[in-house]
Amino acid sequence: MREEPFSWWAHAHARTDAAALAAFRILFGLLVATSALRFLAFGWVDRFFVAPRFFFPYWGFGWVAPLPAPWIHGAFVVLALSGIALALGLFYRAAAFTTFVVFTYVELLDVTNYLNHYYLVTLLSLLMCFLPLGRAYSLDARRTPALAVTTLPRWVSWLLRFQVGVVYVFAALAKATEDWLVHAQPMQIWLASRTDTPIIGPLLDRLEIAHAMGWAGFLYDLTIPLWLSWRRTRPFAYGVLLLFHLGTQMLFEIGMFPAIMTTAALVFFSPSWPRRLGRALGLRPAAAPPDEPGHARWTSARRASAMALAAWCVVQVLVPLRAHAYGGNVLWHEQGMRWSWRVMCREKNGSVVYRVRADGWAHERFVPPTRYLTDHQAREMSTQPDLILALARHIADVQRARGFAHVEVRVDAFASLNGRPMARLIDPDVDLASVAPSLAPASWILPAPEGPPIRLTRRTIAAVD
């Protein structure tokens, strides 16, 4: 056992007011509960987990199977309850673990439901399983006073800041493309259809507005962690953040994303911000506990923990970067697209028809994805090559189960990216039934079309004569 080796080690283990982290726990738990209740209230559990007859598994997670109704509804009830328990700080570790397991389970059921902010919830809930956020302002602390603390190590905040910062920075890097920065696409496509928006609507189909909003979004994502980290700019930065997410919520239906990010960004604030907010609201919160210097010993256990955290951070950086290992345009081939925080960076629509041949058939049969999928699944899979492959293999399995020994499945898959003329996404000559799913670069995905995206002009219709 040695004294702490580095000054940052001591700084990281210095204990600061737990109020901010407790507030984060409470708000995060409420968001999880709200998300689960939305799924139940809007009928999304039926739509996404009961109605489909085929589910797209994540690579390596084909063993995750959907619960039948009403058990799948029960899973969302459990998720809502675990979110509430998390907020209350009641059986905190169990609540965090349940949140992580159940949320991750429902996310793993079908790739077509993937959303970046759901992935963020999974990561944060996993982190919370190991972070001591239930020891302050919680029912656990009230039930077991020995657990109660008023301060928590600074590294806990640092870790959460890193996690949230990763989202923003990689979301910015995903926008560092010619389409986004030079051609203002797909921003122009989105804005041009929103000219009914109050006050600013008539301006939204202007190219210069699309450019301005595209660059603003890029610079915002790239720099907001910095402005939030600096005490002097933090209040203004958070104000901008609120405006940004309010604006995106008004313009685009992105569900819980703005709420999650405005909550997550609070981890950049000082440890005592809830007390200051309370005072500003005329309440009388207790005085903040004084910071305590770190006395963490450089034990083997702590060394292992530090290494695990470092590994976590490295993984969080490497996973989004893996997309670049594939070369080409990731927005087209989508290899490495998921878990890389490519938030709102493409407008892509596809058309898929499978061509199936089996022994004894006189000709190829054309099979639309909707024969096996819900409309939602068909729409999502039509632009994602690995999902097109997965359904091709499923179709082959179905035909083999019907007694056809030799089955070939090819596909006519077209897509339009950011308004470009449609182009083939998949090599139509490749028998996808013989292609094994893999993380390796896929030679059966055709290169992205050359040339710039569409440059829209204003919607106009001539007057009546």
Binding site: G43, R47, F48, V50, A51, H117, I189, W190, A192, S193, R194, T195, D196, P198, I199, G201, L203, R206, L207, E208, M250, L251, F252, E253, I254, G255, M256, M344, E347, N349, G350, S351, A362, F366, V367, P368, R371, T374, D375, R379, S382, D412, F414, A415, S416, N418, G419, P421, M422, I454, L456, T457, R458, R459, T460, I461, A462, A463, V464, D465
Partner: protein, 440 residues
């Protein structure tokens, strides 16, 4: 990712508000400063709107007198509502009334002449309905379920009029025996697979007095069907058809009332989309409702009406499946497909090809995608011509015309591919049922 307009707060939008907040001179200043103004706008070729359209009233225009932005979309919607959909609804209502009269006469006399007249009236009504199949917007559209969100204003009227492919011959025969149809109001609550124009086709065109149930079915095992005798079967079918005609007419009246300016004015609601006095919270949402309806071409026409019976898909294991033809008894499958395509073309172009009216093509041209517009128009016209050139199809002749079906299928695929990729991307439309969830 797919993004969609938030509907709830949009009801607050009023055109005069943003006209005041962002007047034309302000837009001109912004445009002038940026150098990206109307100078690069591709002008729509459309010069006229249909009679009765009031979509220009109060709409801010650009220097060339053109409606811009959401108002341009509303102008297209207004033209489609009052120039395409409302006339089609009126025509169908008139045809449904004529059908009821003809079936009444047939039920009263059961003469061969009156049967032929009833059949002719059904042919007219069904062909007009086939146009409206492509226009399931508002009350004709799906009401929605827990697992599938409904359309704006959806009331399932479509299924009340024609629930194809949900037509169950054996169930219709069972109803023929039970005579439940004699209580017209109660029968309106029966399942849709024994009602509507599809069931009427069987009742009016079935060539003989056999039934579609197995020997173990109650109507055969008990001898109830046999007890009717051939004349009894024809009598009951005529009466049953009369009940169905009246129920279809009720729905036709409801549909027409919904679209008439003196009623719920759905045509006007399209024209005013996003302006408060409309069920649609934005012009884009209304445009999306029209686009959703047009996807009938992809799912029902391409995959079910064409690929299904011709064994081009995997729904039919044999070399052909006449049972999957839409019009098995009247032999009108070809005419129905052609009518579907004519309606699709009118929605896309704003009117018949020989006339000029605002449509999706004009929107595409105006935003800088004239190539997409022209390729779509050409592809639709080619598919329509191929459908019109199909030989008359019935169960016995299908096998000899599979090549023509395959050719039509290829043409429909081209339309579908363009619609699903370039059209929806450039106009930022959602594919059906893909909108009502979170995105990022």
């Amino acid at each position: 990712m797919k993004l969609r307009i938030i509907p709830a707060w949009r009801a607050l939008v009023r055109r005069p508000v943003h006209s005041l907040v962002a007047p034309r001179w302000a837009l001109a200043v912004v445009a002038g400063l940026s150098g990206a103004s109307g100078g690069c706008v591709v002008v729509s070729t459309t010069r006229s709107a249909p009679p009765g359209s009031d979509v220009d009233a109060g709409a801010p225009l650009d220097a060339g007198g053109r409606a811009v932005g959401a108002d341009a979309t509303r102008r297209v919607l207004g033209a489609l509502g009052s120039g395409v959909i409302l006339p089609a609804v009126r025509d169908f209502d008139a045809a449904a009334a004529a059908l009821t009269s003809a079936v009444e006469a047939h039920a009263a006399s059961r003469s061969d002449a009156d049967l032929r007249a009833a059949q002719d009236a059904w042919v007219v009504a069904m062909e007009r309905w086939q146009g409206l199949e492509m226009m399931q917007i508002g009350p004709a559209a799906m009401a929605g379920t827990a697992a599938a969100p409904g359309a704006v204003g959806g009331r399932d009227l479509r299924d009340q009029i024609d629930a194809w492919p949900l037509v169950n011959r054996c169930r219709i025969d069972q109803e023929t025996v039970s005579r439940d149809f004699e209580d017209e109001d109660a029968f309106a609550a029966e399942t849709v697979n024994v009602r509507g124009l599809g069931a009427m086709e069987y009742l009016l065109f079935a060539p003989n007095a056999s039934n579609g149930c197995g020997a173990s079915a109650e109507i055969n095992a008990s001898g109830a069907w046999a007890a009717l005798g051939e004349d009894g079967v024809r009598t009951q079918r005529a009466r049953y058809a009369l009940t169905l005609a009246r129920l279809v007419q009720r729905s036709a009246v409801t549909l027409r009332t919904a679209w008439e300016p003196s009623g719920e004015d759905w045509a006007g609601q399209l024209a005013r989309a996003g302006e408060g006095a409309s069920a649609f919270s934005s012009a884009q949402e209304a445009l999306n409702a029209v686009s959703d309806a047009m996807f009938y071409l992809d799912t029902e026409v391409k995959d079910m009406k064409v690929a299904g019976p011709a064994a081009l898909g995997d729904a039919c294991a044999a070399s052909s499946c006449p049972d999957l033809l839409e019009s098995r008894w009247a032999g009108r499958s070809r005419e129905h497909i052609a009518a579907n395509l004519v309606a699709f073309e009118r929605l896309f172009l704003g009117d018949a090809p020989e006339r000029d009216a605002p449509g999706f093509d004009d929107l595409l041209v105006s935003v800088g995608a004239p190539d997409t517009a022209s390729r779509m128009a050409e592809a639709i016209a080619a598919a329509r011509r191929a459908a019109e050139a199909l030989p008359r199809i019935d169960g016995s002749s299908l096998e000899t015309h599979l090549a023509a079906f395959a050719a039509l299928y290829d043409l429909l695929r081209t339309v579908s591919e363009l619609m699903k990729t370039e059209v929806v991307t450039v106009l930022d439309l959602d594919l059906p049922e893909s909108a009502a969830t979170d995105n990022d």
